[in-house]
Structure formats: structure tokens, C-alpha cells
Symmetry: D2
Subunit: 165 residues, 4 copies
């Protein structure tokens, strides 16, 4: 299971609502992944609205939804999720976590998520830097994002490196 | 089409989540019917939470949900609605408006509802006294309910009538 | 001490910020009196904003502030209150409760108020119908106001009286 | 006038409510200074509650109030401010900006503040890093604080410096 500090494994998904956006395409950007289920009260009332605020306030941060269904699969399939995303006007791509027959879907298991909503934060170098069950207060999530936004991208350098010295 | 002031027609439904509660069984009580669709943002964020507040604060008022689906039927059927009601913990019975092949379901058409959420308020005598598209502010809905809660039930009398004088 | 149901005694005040508006001039209207102190957190954050919502939503209801200072008199005098009312943009007249040397001012004592904020509600006939310490939820206050707004004014009659029959 | 990036000048104050806490004593910590006036609606409803949230969530950040009175001096003196701080339960030291006869007090002028509320953010090395009129959203302020919280203190070093290489 991936730990905070490790490289963030690619999302293992069945498909996307919106533009497919693998983590590998986001290197150099801070990424917020909001793991949710469409019929989860905490996701509806806290997690998803917060992810939308992040997207609105920080255009440099890449926001993704991750639909990690571990209950009620029969009524929260792709067709229902498409309606949900459209009706709520979710402004970010939503990945659909892949099922392989286990009780929870694959990406959820890989990341060790214990429920929904969960928030994953990934740095510019593609490392997992935060994983929280439930919803942080905006100041707390902002602080975590701010620390990562202030970091250089891999390959960038704010100061002359040794080879240039 | 029923107008405010008219007797409120019975809800014409396919079924109920929770205890079936026809309007006819609620004579003598003020009734709030919250018409909603489970994948409607205004219902999720304003209408249904307000109906829950009414139920919590006014035990004498009968609160009912009415699932008036006029779009996305295929993903908001009874099985999906059951999960929705359970996950959100809706504490009142929910009627499922009946479809007869028209673009909107029967009760929605009878009451002339133009969208969701809509709030219907019915007095102790069974007359429709309020019908609002969107969500009133709590003070406004409280005022409407308060006026009806203060009315006598049919058959009650606070003062001696002429025949007793 | 006045009880709910009794005629509401006139406010006994030292002066007004805004138009002096004795209760006696409001017969025929429902009246909300918000008793507050300018440096009271519950008044700032709950009581006064609620009174402003009432004024905005119910133009037929007369809203008054009543500054009932029982502590910190030295820094909440008329000059400070004038600034407070202007800076917060309070849109209703504010009466200044009269001190006579007792621990609490006269009107506060007459009405038996135990602290701030307190909300008084008076009917069209000038009777005290509600007195609440703290802040009611908007639905609750709305219901109380709605019941009184639905009552006839004294002298009005919705149905022919006996002399006309 | 000090610019963002410059060393933050010491607060030039007449006194403190609570423990006197000059900026010079806070080197090594991130500092938030909330400039306010006690009878300013935006301060009461947005600025001061936000500063309290910062103090609650980030014990490593030093939070200070700065009472920068540029109007209504006569009713917002030290005695009134003491009551205000106690009644609202402000949990941080409050500096009282010094008047020298100009239209705005000295620290306010030095920092070029254009009104209240204003938020100043100072890094571990004592440099001004943010100065905002009005109130940032919590995510935005969190991000700014998070970037500064992630920086090393002067004298600390996360990596071997050249002399150790």
C-alpha cells in the first residue's frame, strides 16, 4: 500500500467522465484527487463542494474526481454517474475506479482509502503528500496545497545547481 | 390544474419509500410536501435539508417527500431512490410520483409544478395553501407554516358557535 | 412583570437612534423587538442579523432594536451606539433602554428579560405573544410571526359580525 | 512604505490588550497580523473570525490583532477595546496602533494599509510576504500560510550547506 511520501501510483480506472487525465500527464503540477461516491452525504455536502472551490481558486492545481464505489454499485454505474456529474456541474474530470471482484475497487485499495470522501494530494514530482479520510477545513487543505504549490517542479531550479556553480 | 385555495388532490403514486402516507390520512395536520428529484442540485443543497429542518422543529407538521422525476428516469428508479433515501438519512416518507407516459409524472402535472425543488403546503382541512418553485427562505416558509399551524382543525372550534349561544 | 399574553408595556427609553417609534404607534402591526447590547457576541452574530432578515422579508412587520445595557455602560453609551448602528447599517430604529440606578435598565426589568439577545414579539392588538432569550431558528421565529401576521387587526373583521347579520 | 518582500517593520503601538508580543520576538515563526477596527462590519463578520480559525488550526502560527483606528476614535479607545476583546473572546494579543495626529495611525501608515480588515503575513525570517485588504477565502489564506510554514527558519538548514559539502 502506498504511503505518504511514496510515488503516487497511476489511477487504475475503467473510464472517465470528461477528459481522461492520467496522473502521469500532470507531472509538474500539484494534483488534488477527491475520492467520492455519488450517493454519499459527506461527499455531496463537503468533499465535492470543497474540490470545486479548489478548482475555482487555484487554476494551477489539477483537480480530479475519483469515483470509488464500494457499495450500491447497481445504482451508481457509469450512466448514473454521468447524470450526477452533469446535474451538479462538476467542473473537473472524474475517473471511475476499476473493479476486479474485490470488495473495494482497485485504486481505492492501492491507496489504502478507508472510505469516502477521501482527499489525496500529490506534488509536482508525482509523490503522494497527503491522504485524508473525511474533509479537512479549508485553511488546512489550503496550507497543504500552499506548501506544495511553493515547491519547485522537478527539473526547475530556483538557484544555480552544482553543475552550474 | 389545482390552484392555491383548492382542495389538495391525493398524491397519485407508484409506491412509497417508508410508510405509505396518503394526504387523506393527514386531515387535521398541516402538511409539507417537498417535490424533488434525487439528482437535482437545488434539491440536494436547499430543498431537502430545509424539509428535514421542518420535520425536526415542528413535530406537529407532517413532512412528505415526493419524487417527481421528469428527466433521467433510467438512473433514478426505485432502487436508486431507496439508496438515496437511506444514505442521506431522509427522515420522512417519500412518495414516488406515477408515470403514465407523459413528459412529467401525474401528480406533478395535477399540481402544475414547473420544476424541482417545489414546496407544497396543505392546511388542516386539506386545502392547498402554498406552492413554490425553488426554495423559500426559512423565515418565509416558517411564516406560512405558522399561519396554518395557528388555524383550527375542521370540526374544532375555539369559541362557542351561534347554535350554542 | 409582564407575561406572554399580557398587553405589552410601552418601551421606557432614554432616547432613540433613528425615528422614535413607540409601541403605541404600531397598533395594527406585528412588532419584533430585538433586545441587544452592542458588545455581545450572540447579538452581533445571531440576533441582529436575524432581525435584519425579518425586516427585509416582512415589510409589514415593524422591527425595533432595544439597547438594554446591563454591563459595560461606560463604553456603550449613546455616542458609541450611534457609530455601531451606522457602521453595521442597522435598518431599523433603536431604542435606548432607560437606566434608573438599578442593575438592569427599566424596560428590560419590566419585560423580565434575563440577558441578550432576547426577542420580543407583539401582536396587532399590542399584546406580548413571544419572549425568547437567545436566538430562535429562522423557521421557529417565522412560524411565530406567521401566526400573528395571519391574525386580524383589532377592529377589522373578516366575516360579518352579529350586528350586521 | 514597506512592500511585500521587505523586512516587516516593528509594530509601533500605544499598548497591548493581552501579552505584549513585538514582531521581533517572533522570529522563526510565521506571523499573521489582523488589522481591524472594533466597529467595522467586515472585521466583525469575516476578518476576526478567520484570524481565530487560523489560531485554532495552526498553533505554530503566531496570530496578532492590530487595532488600527482611523475613524470614531472617541468611542473605540482602550477601555472600549478591552471590553470588545473580552466579550468576543479574542484569543490572541491585540496591539493598539499609535496615533501621532495624522489621519491614520502610525503602523497602518507604515504598512500602507488602505482600510480594515487587512491581513498581513510575515515569514519566519521577519519579511512581509502578504498584505491584503478585505478577507481572503480560507483556501487562499491557507495556501499563503502553508507556503511560509513549509519554509525553513533562518539558521535552520534542511540540506547540507556549502561549508559542509
Amino acid at each position: 500500500m502506498v504511503e505518504v511520501g511514496d510515488p503516487a501510483p497511476e489511477l487504475d480506472v475503467e473510464g472517465w467522465i470528461g477528459t481522461p487525465t492520467p496522473l502521469g500527464s500532470l507531472r509538474g503540477r500539484v494534483v488534488l484527487v477527491e475520492a467520492f461516491q455519488m450517493l454519499c452525504a459527506g461527499c455531496l455536502y463537503r468533499g465535492l463542494p470543497q474540490a470545486q472551490r479548489v478548482q475555482r481558486l487555484f487554476p494551477d492545481v489539477a483537480v480530479l474526481g475519483l469515483h470509488t464505489v464500494f457499495e450500491h454499485h447497481e445504482v451508481t454505474g457509469r450512466d448514473a454517474l454521468e447524470v450526477f456529474v452533469a446535474e451538479l456541474g462538476l467542473p473537473f474530470p472524474v475517473a471511475i475506479d476499476r473493479h476486479d471482484g474485490g470488495p473495494v475497487p482497485v485504486t481505492m485499495r492501492t491507496y489504502g482509502l478507508r472510505g469516502t470522501p477521501s482527499t489525496l494530494v500529490i506534488d509536482r514530482a508525482g509523490r503522494l503528500r497527503g491522504s485524508h479520510l473525511g474533509t479537512l477545513e479549508d485553511l488546512e487543505l489550503g496550507s497543504l496545497l500552499g506548501a506544495l504549490r511553493a515547491e519547485e517542479s522537478p527539473g526547475e531550479s530556483a538557484e544555480p545547481g552544482p553543475e552550474e556553480a
